[in-house]
């Protein structure tokens, strides 16, 4: 018998927090606000832990139906929660990392305006994210999906006084709409053809279907879902919003734009594995998009000088990795990387935040350096993160990335090759950042750091920490760093010996029976012979990926530690390429040119001036004007003379009689 | 009975009834003058004939031969029509009044002593009397004289006010007898309590109250003392018929007394058991005795009229209205309710 775990509490606790802070936070002290926020997010985390404790005694998937939501004929959607291994992983990641980041935020945001607002949004985000991962059907998931989009918009534009922040928020929101469009169409297709949105029903109705070797319904659905995922998880071509999203406060970047929200796409794809497994073409699309994004973003990351931008692009490329994993059918590998990435990327962002905090709002790495001794805690934790992401064993990143690459290699060497290249780039730019930030001598001016950050209400408030100069962050910020550092170190060990895969196996292989033989996607239940043969090659690949990691380290060391003047020369040498990359391949400009500008033009000329002004407003104004005119003439009927009224009445009666007679004659 | 015969009999009855009625009217006047005279310790008319018995005839002749003058500035048609209306309705209402049993003359004629027996006779009477108001109102208005106008106003107001009480006072009787037909109402009153008290409505089911109310209302309806404000000589010269003279005046006069008679008949029929009374002797007596009893009762009623006139002073107008609305009407309503309750409980 399975205990009744009140899953609904998990999302609702943060919501309660959000409500309390949102409604009354204005009058609360900062202590009270942070207490409330931490209390509820922590409660959610505790609840998640308790659920995890109950895990062994559950029969999965465990579905908890709260109330019917909408019924239309046979189509029915409930407020129901769905819990299985995948949900558990996501749950732990979201609540855990979320809670840590909440703690961190208390320290980081302490001096900011709109303290309560920040935590309201943060809790709200938690609510929606948890709804997303606990939903038992795509519609409820979509609610969470949109909700996190909203929260992200609010938080990116948190410093709404800064135009760039507001613009970035809008950009994120609009770009996401594009993805949601695809997602919605996919949902409509599902409703149309399978009459349901529940995971369980869909699995039941889809698994009997055959693999679509040629493009078909499932392929279409899959690709559309991928579009949605690309929007949310910042994949080509919709990744452009994520770098700009760095306008938001750093904890937000850590929580939403690194650890949790952006991984929602990955989660959604893996959740839809039933569909993808039967749509190889869609799978290929996913894989290719992932590969391209990974590499592309990595290259951009090399040239960025803004500490957060670097991390942003690395996030994009890491997400690319996850999609490679999904694309090659190694969903568990993707989720695995998702988890580890949540640890070390969250860590990196928080550390970066700590650095920024330390240098008083400065984000340009060129103005940093030599911070190693000044902020040791931050340094060491960041180091752990960097090594983790660079895929240096035995840190978390190594296991997950290696797993993905290995699985990819079994599908196509191209994925593997690009992946390896990307790994190299990743380790290079990460170490580049590491060196630029912590080694060498401090390049920023000692005092008055704030002069060049007055523009941002978000950061210049860091000046009014009592003591000038570089300083370590308070313990409340360091504690999460340390915890996350530990996780980034040990987080990967759960993957040793496929433990993590086996743990997720029941989720992903409950329905993949047909796919196992007819589709060459590597299945966790891989044939034993393949396993034997694979071992050696896997080892080789592992060595290679470690090698590229080290290589990247060395190169970065060479360029940014030994001879810091060298990069400039190189940049000069391949000028065009450098600038292209520096300007992110002008993607934003291209989009602006081919999409945004025409769109604005059309909207202005056709929709706004033409339709809205010319037709809609015109009709309304015209009718109003006409009504006024008519009544102006009509009111002279109001002679105040009873008999004229009587005359009108008689005329009206006559009309009615005529009408009725006419009707009677007509009917006969 | 053939139609021709029926018409003949009807005509005979009409002629008879009207003759009796007019005579009655004439001699009521005589009686009034006599009685009031004696009450006031005078003789009353004595010159014309024995006990002045021919006085009414003399008066009639005088009215006929007086000059009939029409004052200027009157609304001609209405001025002339008003008295006719008044007298017409006053006389019409007698048509449905039964004053005796059915009689058989020979074996061909078998007819009620009543011009016509309609099953809503009571309503007819009420309707006709209510129309009688027009005569007075119009006369008051048409003769273009402030006294007349005031008289007419008073008269119409008073009559429509008291009409309600009058009607309601009859409802009790209707409930008891369960019919609008006067004849049936009378038959419902035949019989005796304990063998000697006649089973008249006045003794029956608290209808004494109804009778009282009816009496008051009737006086008001007929503009008699103590409610004769429309023709209050001391204030309004002669009220609505100030401008009338000769035959037109006589018509109003006749109308008033005819109304009195009608009201008396109605009271007799409704409360005093109509023509019921001890009947004996040969057939001719059995036919005539009821008529005698009926006439006797009406006479008593008339006498009360005169007696009251000789006794009571005149009300003030506001007193009149207050009495009508604040006393008579509630009492009448209460009577109706109580009677209805009694009947409902008994059945």
């Amino acid at each position: 018998m399975t205990p009744h775990l009140h899953l609904w509490l998990i999302p609702l606790l943060p919501l309660a927090g959000a409500a309390i802070n949102g409604f009354f936070g204005r009058r609360f002290s900062r202590q009270a606000v942070s207490t409330v926020a931490l209390l509820f997010s922590g409660a959610a985390f505790a609840m998640a832990l308790w659920v995890a404790g109950q895990f062994s005694s559950l029969t999965l998937p465990y579905i908890e139906t709260l109330a019917p939501w909408m019924r239309a004929g046979s189509f029915q959607v409930d407020f129901a929660f769905y819990f299985d291994q995948l949900s558990l992983v996501m749950l732990m990641v979201v609540t855990g990392v979320g809670f840590l980041i909440h703690i961190y935020s208390v320290g980081y945001m302490w001096t900011e305006g709109g303290f309560y607002r920040f935590f309201t949004y943060l809790n709200l985000f938690m609510f929606f994210m948890l709804t997303l991962i606990l939903a038992s059907n795509y519609l409820l998931m979509f609610i969470g999906w949109e909700g996190v989009g909203l929260a992200s918009y609010l938080l990116i534009g948190f410093f709404f006084l800064k135009d760039s922040a507001a613009a970035a928020g809008k950009k994120a929101f609009i770009v996401n709409r594009v993805g949601d469009f695809g997602f919605l169409i996919a949902l409509f297709l599902l409703i149309k053809h399978f009459g349901s949105l529940n995971y369980a029903d869909l699995a039941g109705s889809i698994s009997p279907l055959h693999i679509e070797t040629s493009a078909g319904l499932l392929t279409a659905i899959g690709i559309l879902l991928m579009v949605g995922a690309a929007g949310k998880s910042a994949q080509i071509p919709l990744y452009v919003w994520l770098p700009d999203a760095m306008e938001g406060p750093t904890p937000v970047s850590a929580l939403i734009h690194a650890a949790t929200m952006v991984t929602a796409g990955v989660y959604m794809v893996s959740r839809s594995h039933v569909i993808f497994e039967r749509a190889p073409i869609a799978m290929t699309v996913v894989a290719i998009i992932g590969t391209l994004t990974a590499f592309f973003a990595a290259t951009i990351g090399i040239t960025q000088t803004d500490i957060k931008k670097v991390l942003a692009y690395s996030t994009v490329s890491q997400l690319g990795y996850m999609f490679i994993g999904c694309g090659v059918g190694a969903f568990s590998a993707g989720i695995f990387h998702l988890m580890t990435h949540a640890f070390f990327k969250g860590l990196l962002f928080l550390a970066a935040g700590s650095v920024i905090h330390a240098v008083g709002g400065e984000q340009d790495m060129r103005k940093m350096g030599g911070l190693r001794t000044k902020i040791p805690w931050t340094f060491w934790t960041m180091t752990a993160g960097t090594f983790a992401i660079a895929g240096i064993p035995p840190l978390a990143g190594f296991f997950s990335k290696d797993e993905i690459l290995w699985q990819a290699s079994r599908v196509s060497m191209i994925y593997w090759a690009v992946g390896i290249l990307t790994a190299f780039l990743t380790s290079f730019y990460m170490f580049r950042q590491w060196f630029m930030t912590f080694f060498g001598e401090y390049r920023g001016e000692q005092h008055g750091h704030g002069s060049h950050s007055h523009g941002s209400p978000g950061h210049d408030s860091h000046d009014n920490h009592g003591h000038g100069g570089v300083h370590e962050s308070p313990a409340v910020m360091l504690a999460p760093l340390v915890i996350l550092a530990i996780l980034s170190v040990v987080g990967g060990w759960v993957g040793i010996g496929n433990r993590f895969e086996n743990f997720l196996a029941p989720v992903f292989h409950s329905t993949a029976t047909i796919s196992a033989d007819s589709f060459d996607a590597p299945s966790m239940s891989a044939e034993p012979k393949n396993e034997e043969a694979g071992k050696s090659t896997e080892l080789l690949f592992t060595e290679i990926s470690v090698g590229v990691g080290v290589l990247g380290f060395l190169l970065a060391w060479q360029l940014y530690y030994r001879r810091p003047e060298l990069p400039a020369e190189i940049a000069l040498k391949l000028n065009g390429l450098y600038h292209t990359v520096l300007h992110k391949y002008y993607v934003d400009e291209i989009y602006a040119a081919i999409i945004v500008k025409p769109l604005i033009a059309i909207s202005t000329v056709v929709f706004w001036k033409g339709i809205d002004r010319g037709m809609i407003d015109a009709t309304l104004d015209g009718s109003a004007e006409g009504a006024r005119e008519v009544s102006d003439t009509m009111r002279h009927m109001q002679s105040g003379n009873i008999r004229s009224y009587a005359g009108w009445v008689a005329a009206g009666a006559a009309c009615i009689i005529v009408f009725m007679t006419w009707m009677a004659v007509g009917t006969r | 009975m053939s139609v021709g015969l029926f018409i003949l009999v009807s005509l005979v009855k009409i002629a008879l009834v009207f003759f009796i009625l007019l005579t009655a009217v004439a001699y009521t006047v005589w009686l009034e003058r006599k009685v009031v005279g004696h009450m006031q310790n005078r003789w009353g008319p004595t010159r014309v004939g024995p006990f002045g018995l021919l006085q009414p005839a003399a008066d009639g002749v005088k009215f006929l031969f007086k000059e009939d003058l029409t004052p200027p500035h009157v609304h001609k048609t209405l001025y002339i029509a008003a008295p006719m209306i008044a007298v017409m309705f006053a006389l019409t209402s007698i048509a449905v009044i039964p004053f005796g049993n059915w009689v058989a003359i020979g074996d061909t004629i078998y007819t009620p002593l009543q011009i016509t027996d309609v099953n809503i006779g009571l309503l007819v009477i009420l309707g006709v009397t209510s129309l009688g108001v027009y005569g007075i109102a119009l006369s008051g208005w048409s003769s273009n004289n402030k006294y007349s106008l005031l008289g007419g106003l008073r008269a119409s107001a008073q009559m429509i006010s008291y009409e309600i009480s009058l009607g309601l006072s009859l409802v009790g009787v209707l409930i008891l007898s369960g019919s609008f037909s006067l004849r049936e109402i009378v038959q419902a009153q035949s019989g005796h309590f304990w063998g000697f008290i006649p089973k008249w409505n006045i003794f029956y089911g608290g209808q004494f109250v109804a009778f009282f109310v009816y009496l008051m209302a009737a006086y008001a309806e007929t503009n008699r003392i103590p409610f004769d404000l429309p023709e209050a000589e001391t204030e309004l010269v002669a009220g609505y018929h100030t401008e009338y003279s000769a035959m037109k005046f006589a018509m109003f006069f006749m109308a008033e007394y005819a109304n009195m008679v009608t009201v008396g008949c109605l009271a007799t029929l409704l409360f005093l058991g109509g023509w019921s009374g001890p009947i004996f002797g040969p057939y001719i007596l059995q036919v005539l005795l009821p008529v005698f009893w009926f006439v006797a009762k009406v006479f008593v009623f008339m006498f009360i009229y005169i007696w009251v006139r000789g006794t009571l002073p005149r009300f003030r107008y506001d007193q009149l209205m207050a009495f009508g609305w604040k006393f008579l009407l509630p009492v009448a309503i209460a009577n109706v309710v109580i009677t209805a309750l009694i009947v409902a409980l008994r059945s």
Binding site: - | L126, Y134, I160, G167
Partner: protein, 170 residues
């Protein structure tokens, strides 16, 4: 016989109604209306609705119209003033009314002879009426009683401090 009586009283009705329109003095109009009502009562009798006829006479002719006459006398209403009234009433109202009534007549004649009404064809006796009124139509009856009560109070309030008694009569 029935037809003849109908025609006679009908003619009286129409004559009265037309006279109401032609007369310039309200009291003449009022009297012609009384005539109309009397004739209508006769029509009701022809239709066998004797009770309705009686009530028509008592209530309409005997009470309401008396009230009218009374008010006319009270306000001493004179001849109708020849004020150039409202053109609309003439321009729109009268033609409309005419059109409407013509259409009605046309329809009625089209359907004429659908039914014959003979004298006393239905029991309009007080008993039946009373039964209907106090059983089937009890609620409407009570409601109308309340309506009348309200009307009385309204009249008293409106015409307070003058002739309230007569208003109550309505």
């Amino acid at each position: 016989m029935h037809l003849i009586l109908f025609l006679i009283f009908g003619a009286v009705c129409v004559a009265g109604a037309v006279n109401l329109l032609l007369q310039h003095h309200p009291i003449d109009s009022a009297l012609s209306l009384v005539v109309v009502m009397g004739a209508l009562a006769a029509e009701y009798l022809l239709l066998g609705a004797e009770f309705v006829a009686a009530v028509q006479v008592i209530v309409y002719a005997g009470a309401i119209m008396v009230l009218f006459v009374f008010v006319i006398m009270l306000l001493n209403a004179g001849e109708e003033a020849r004020s150039g009234g409202s053109r609309i009433a003439w321009v729109i109202g009268v033609p409309g009314m005419l059109l409407g009534s013509i259409l009605m007549a046309w329809v009625l004649l089209k359907h004429s002879g659908t039914g014959q009404v003979e004298v006393g064809s239905l029991p309009g006796s007080p008993q039946d009426i009373g039964w209907l009124l106090f059983h089937d139509f009890l609620l409407p009856f009570e409601v109308t009683s309340i309506l009348v009560l309200i009307a009385i109070m309204g009249a008293v309030v409106l015409a307070s401090h003058a002739q309230s008694a007569e208003k109550k009569e309505g």
